[in-house]
């Protein structure tokens, strides 16, 4: 990791990814990625996790299998991802073509005091996903590399695993709604219409 510097701003990176979201369904991992997505703008098909650490990617899997015609994005953090590393194997085997998991990797546990995480010590999540069998994997350290990730994240056959390396600069706290029942009902109504309440 020594040859790289963390230069990307997490808010700008997440906002850039979501500019091209189209009708994608989005799950966010708890902590900073949830705040980043909220800062980019609320949407009824955003489902924000405020807990369930380690569950974001596999929640995206279940959603992607249920909605094979819709793109499903998971935006989560490196700490949340390493808590559920088995998801790399589970998703590789299930192999949903419409799922993209994007890890916003600041190499820190941002909510708990910015302690260094596993990726700071060189653990390579993209390499692990590739070895697990994800057909498309990529990592972005720069704006140009982030730009080049967009087709993979939004349209290429998945499952897609992408890491965006971001710096640890402080960003304003932006909190989305946190009522789980309200979030799940509005998500389902936006997706399923009246069938959401059957």
């Amino acid at each position: 990791m020594a040859e790289h510097k963390l230069t990307l701003n997490r808010r700008e990176a997440v906002a850039r990814i979501l500019t091209d979201r189209g009708d994608a369904l989005l799950i966010t991992g708890l902590g900073s990625p949830t705040w980043d997505v909220a800062a980019a703008g609320d949407h009824p098909n955003n489902f924000y996790l405020w807990g369930a650490m380690g569950g974001a990617a596999v929640m995206g899997l279940g959603l992607a299998l249920a909605q094979p015609r819709r793109r499903v994005l998971v935006i989560t953090g490196d700490g949340e991802m390493v808590l559920g590393l088995g998801a790399l194997a589970t998703i590789a085997v299930a192999a949903p073509g419409n799922l993209a998991v994007c890890v916003i990797d600041n190499e820190r546990y941002g909510e708990t005091g910015m302690q260094e995480g596993h990726t700071a010590a060189g653990v390579d999540l993209v390499g692990m996903a590739a070895m697990a069998g994800w057909p498309t994997t990529a990592c972005a350290w720069t704006e140009e590399e982030l730009e080049a990730l967009m087709p993979a994240i939004h349209s290429e056959p998945g499952p897609v695993f992408a890491t965006v390396k971001v710096n640890a600069d402080p960003v304003p706290l932006v909190l989305p709604p946190r009522d789980g029942t309200a979030l799940r009902s509005r998500f389902r109504q936006a997706l399923l219409g009246e069938k959401a309440f059957e």
């Binding site: 995206g60 029942t181 997706l191």
Partner: protein, 176 residues
């Protein structure tokens, strides 16, 4: 374990209940007690099966499935119950329906002492995080109990676990 000639009817009956209830995703960590049901689901083109590395993944997968309009069920052994606890907090907070079918170890006539703590603690652990628990100790009642649990889960938006006792499954024989 039982051989083909004496294969019990309850796994097929549960499979029928799940089909009747439009269950389309089955998440599982393999267990001998669920062997037949897993085989039925894997062979069914209308059911998507997800092989998990750990049971808590299934709690999240099926939350996502229901967000997307599909019903599912999570199959596991009682030793997997403890792995699910924190993830079940999301299910409670969001009122996601969740159907868990748990085959018991550390239960009736257990041989392996290492199964005992989680097996004996499974019901209390589930109830501690708000999961509604039904127990089955008579094979003849397995299907109707799963049917009731399925209705409870998906009509009342609750996490419901059916614990299928070792008395139903039979002893695991270690001797040849």
């Amino acid at each position: 374990m039982t051989d083909a000639a004496t294969e019990p009817a309850w796994p097929d009956e549960i499979y029928g209940v799940l089909k009747e209830a439009d269950v389309e995703q089955i998440c599982y960590v393999p267990d001998a007690g669920h062997k037949v049901l897993i085989e039925r689901c894997v062979a069914d083109n209308e059911i998507t099966t997800v092989l998990l590395t750990t049971e808590e993944e299934g709690v999240a997968v099926l939350s996502g499935a229901w967000l997307g309009g599909q019903r599912g069920a999570l199959l596991m052994q009682s030793s997997g119950v403890g792995n699910c606890i924190n993830m079940l907090g999301m299910v409670q907070e969001c009122r996601f329906p969740l159907l868990m079918l748990v085959t018991m170890r550390g239960d009736w006539g257990e041989f392996n002492p290492w199964q005992t703590t989680m097996g004996q603690g499974a019901q209390a652990a589930l109830e501690a995080v708000g999961v509604i628990v039904h127990r089955v100790d008579d094979a003849a009642l397995a299907a109707e109990t799963v049917q009731a649990a399925t209705r409870f889960a998906f009509s009342s938006y609750r996490a419901v676990a059916v614990l299928i006792g070792q008395r139903v499954i039979g002893f695991k024989e270690f001797a040849n």
